[in-house]
């Protein structure tokens, strides 16, 4: 079975004081550690397991500058045979439709049996690239897959819905799935593993190499345009309890008793 996995290298915003750049539209990335998008880790693990179970090949795709190659190296270490990074100077400002178009172009004439994406990205959270890519590739898809099973020439997947419900669907191959977290337990990728994977091919392509008209990408990129980033509204503005652990505990007990009606 020939598999393709699409990954994104994103800033880890947990515990970070995000600072908005001077253009008002970007986050000052130099402050942040980057990592493979959480959902993509699960997609990669699922792809690697399928490859181990069925044989065949696994190719990893990523759109991003050179610094983002760490995520592709992870893919190669986990079992991808080959990696493709696409980059163009015009990319940083592009929305998800343009990203999907560039990924489809990177796949090009190659045909895979199953394409896997993370269900969404931790940074912009659009959850758009997966189904859009499926439309561009002309294959059926299922989003938010939390279980996946291969059954002669098709896959049976469970999609995670709301409130403890799931939907079981069958997809004819070739197909695309967007993977929900928790579908598996992603393995640890060691530094030695990443170093060893350096002998595997990693291609870098520009738009011209892919035969894509930059105007088309520009037009798709402008469909959804980020105008401004701003701090979120304050919301409820929690009253912060301060002091030593013992003091805050005492204050919290008072709150639980007086406002919560317990104790």
């Amino acid at each position: 079975m020939n598999l393709a996995v699409f990954v994104k290298h994103v800033p880890d915003a947990a515990e970070a004081d995000l600072r908005i750049g001077p253009d008002g539209r970007s986050v000052r990335a130099e402050d942040l550690p980057f990592q493979m998008n959480e959902w993509d880790r699960f997609a990669l693990e699922e792809a690697a397991r399928l490859k181990e179970a069925t044989g065949g090949s696994l190719t990893a795709f990523l759109i991003g500058p050179g610094e983002h190659e760490d995520s592709l190296r992870r893919c190669l270490a986990v079992g991808a045979d080959r990696a493709v990074r696409v980059w163009d100077e015009s990319f940083p400002t592009l929305g998800p439709a343009a990203v999907a178009r560039a990924l489809a172009a990177a796949v090009g004439e190659e045909r895979f049996d199953l394409y896997l994406c993370g269900a969404q990205a931790a940074d912009d959270g659009y959850a758009v690239v997966g189904p859009t890519l499926a439309v561009l590739l002309g294959v059926p898809w299922a989003a938010l897959v939390c279980r996946l099973e291969l059954q002669d020439g098709r896959i049976v997947c469970d999609r995670e819905l709301e409130a403890g419900w799931f939907e079981r669907v069958e997809l004819a191959l070739p197909a695309l799935v967007t993977v929900q977290t928790g579908i598996n337990e992603p393995r640890y990728v060691s530094i030695l593993g990443i170093r060893k994977a350096r002998s595997k091919p990693l291609e870098v392509r520009g738009l011209a190499d892919l035969g894509v008209d930059p105007d088309e990408i520009g037009r798709l990129g402008a469909l959804t345009r980020l105008e401004a980033l701003e701090p979120p509204p304050p919301g409820r503005e929690a009253e912060m309890l301060e002091g030593s652990p013992a003091e805050v505990a005492r204050k919290a007990v008072a709150v639980l008793r007086e406002k919560g009606g317990v104790l």
Binding site: I20, P96, L136, P140, L223, E230, M240, R257
Partner: protein, 321 residues
């Protein structure tokens, strides 16, 4: 100009978020509101009958391929009708269903798309969507390019739902869907009932990824025991297999409304917050002062769980005598 609302239904029932979509469509003032109900044979009548007030027209579309609200078929069916009728906006929910069909519809139409939108505005430049990025730590204003149709999905729970009853006779429209879309609905599966029902608890002590270690659950268990509370959790704790799914508070788990909700090491992703924000009293403990959970909490403590929680447990025990 018109605004389409894609009615969301499952297993014969209209989902609450549809009312929110109608309210937003109405407030947009971009023309009459059409509710589109898609589904397999016999699947659209009941949901169509439950539509709220504020709708000018109801269209039912049934087809074998649309059974189970099949996202691939829904996108294909909508694409054909929308290309012909050119609604200014197609509004859906940023739900498991919306995440399946909406961006595919936009791709088919070549239309601008904004997902997980908190509020949608119309001005001289067209449509402006407000949404969150970086797990709720920042807010983004997103401009949708001028186009015959734009596709927008709204975050469930971000708007007050429209009430009342539509009382509009539904038209039916023949679906132009290929018989074979490459995806087939098999069945709905409901998670088996577990030992505890967290929705019935008055007090929930809820843990998130901040606990770091399954053994550290004991710290939260002790507090729950001292308070006579039930232990619940956020999604990552279930993903890691540290607690069963029946204890998950969140959109894909359970929606809870206890008297008191104590969030320990929960960052506050909207999928979680949506399902607990109506609790009577919310107290959050997190080491990150910028964690979004503090924006829905009534009281907050910035600090190390393993310092604060044992002290809290001790103080609770003392208070109870």
């Amino acid at each position: 100009m018109s605004v389409w609302v894609i009615a969301e239904h499952r297993n014969g029932e209209l989902r609450e978020v549809t009312g929110e979509l109608v309210a937003v469509a109405r407030a947009l003032g971009a023309g009459p509101v059409t509710a589109v109900v898609l589904g397999g044979p016999g699947e659209t009548e009941a949901p169509a009958a439950g539509l709220p007030a504020g709708i000018d027209r109801v269209v039912r579309v049934e087809h074998e391929s649309l059974a189970g609200f099949n996202g691939v078929a829904v996108a294909a069916a909508l694409e054909r009708v929308a290309a012909r009728e050119r609604p200014a906006v197609v509004l859906g929910a940023h739900s498991a269903a919306g995440m399946d069909w909406a961006s595919a519809l936009a791709a088919g139409l070549g239309a601008p798309v904004a997902t997980d939108v908190l509020s949608l505005h119309r001005d001289d430049g067209g449509f402006l969507a407000v949404r969150t990025v970086y797990a709720g730590k920042l807010q983004a204003r997103v401009r949708l390019a001028q186009a015959p149709t734009v596709v927008v999905t709204l975050r469930p729970g971000a708007t007050e739902a429209a009430a009342g009853s539509a009382e509009v006779p539904a038209e039916t429209e023949a679906a132009e869907v290929p018989a074979e879309v490459g995806r087939r609905f098999v069945e709905w599966i409901q998670e088996a009932a577990g030992e505890v029902d967290i929705t019935q608890a008055d007090v929930l002590v809820s843990v998130g990824r901040g606990i770091g270690d399954p053994e550290d659950l004991d710290v939260a268990r002790d507090l729950a025991e001292a308070l006579g509370a039930t232990l619940s959790c956020s999604r990552p704790v279930v993903d890691l297999g540290w607690l069963p799914k029946e204890r998950q508070v969140g959109i894909s788990g359970k929606t809870v409304k206890p008297k008191v909700y104590i969030a320990l090491g929960i960052s506050g992703a909207f999928q979680h917050v949506t399902a607990m924000k109506d609790a009577g009293l919310i107290l959050a403990v997190n080491k990150d002062p910028k964690a979004p959970i503090f924006r829905v909490s009534h009281y907050g403590i910035v600090g190390d769980l393993f310092k604060v929680v044992p002290e809290l447990t001790k103080a609770v025990r003392e208070a109870k005598g």
